[in-house]
């Protein structure tokens, strides 16, 4: 299970059965260049493994106005 906070809405979700950043993006219906996937101080590329207990920030990047 992983926990993600989605910015800018600040919505928090817990998700099961996610093993890579790409799977997380797909689950959230995002393309790889539409959001930063942040774990602590680092950015995760789509091939990175994530899982058990990870707390991530999904920062959507589209600028509005």
């Amino acid at each position: 299970m992983i926990t993600v906070r989605i910015e800018p809405d600040n919505e928090v979700k817990t998700l099961e059965k996610i093993n890579t950043t790409q799977q997380l993006l797909t689950r959230l219906n995002l393309l790889s260049t539409q959001a930063l996937i942040i774990r602590g101080e680092e950015l995760l590329t789509p091939d990175r493994r994530i899982g058990q207990g990870d707390e991530l920030v999904v920062r959507k990047v589209v600028s509005l106005g």
């Binding site: 930063l36 942040i38 950015l43 789509p46 600028s63 509005l64 106005g65």
Partner: protein, 309 residues
Amino acid sequence: MKCRRCKELAQIALPSHHTAFCRDCFERYFIRQIETGIRRQKMFTHEDRILCALSGGKDSLALMWVLSHLGYDVTGLHVDLGIEGSSPMARGQVEAFCQDHDLKLVVVETAPKGLGIPEVYKALKRPICPVCGKIKRYYFNKTALEGGYTALTTGHNLDDEVARLFANTLRWDQSYLSDQGPALPAEAGFAAKVKPLYRVTEFETAAFCFLKKIPHVKAPCPYSKGASFTSHKALWATLEEKSPGSKIAFYDGFLERGRPAFAALEPGHGTKLSPCRTCGYPTSVEWCGVCRLKRQVAGLPPEAAEAEE
């Protein structure tokens, strides 16, 4: 994924460039893209006095950081739009950034001039973003003009430029397609207008701000439902994912081949500009758009009516 340059673990994958970078190599890449844009489009030199419009968002703050890092003579400009909740946050972010990095900043408040966005919205009851854009451009240009700045930079990135170009292509807007681009020369008393981020995407500016620990506004403006181009951006994200490199190819192709073709069709710049009778801002009519807007918001009759009396 490994960094293409140093083979460390990559933090940023850039499918458009068939590459991936670690933190340090990405910073180097990002700054180089901006330097390349400045050089190719002959935007400005180290002799210029540059005014950098700062909204408090990731793009403009990343731009200001890079320009000062490259040793340009740059001053920030923030236009405080008087929007409850969002404007104080944006302004606070900009002020903190400039203070932390020891950068010069000019702040212009629109509310005391009768042009706070909530009041304008109430008075006009039509989509506010185009009007807000006009007010911001007015204060960008006016501040540049009065302060003797020779170049005005904004944080428009490749996604913004592609979305705008796409919208204008869908309409075959000949006048836009003949003379728009990332570098418009100084003209009729206006400073040169340049967009040094036109080669980097909003994903890249967001990554840059994260890696350089530049705090920025993330919440959208409360009026942004009317913001243009969001659906075009989504379309382009899909296209780019399927065929990486499409965005920059579309935009570069326009600059190299599209624009010259449209420019050949346009009969030169017809409209002559003269100073606004109230504020001195260059305009093609007697009173500039913002002076007319001010009176409208204040519920006064147009200037022309009064002048005739």
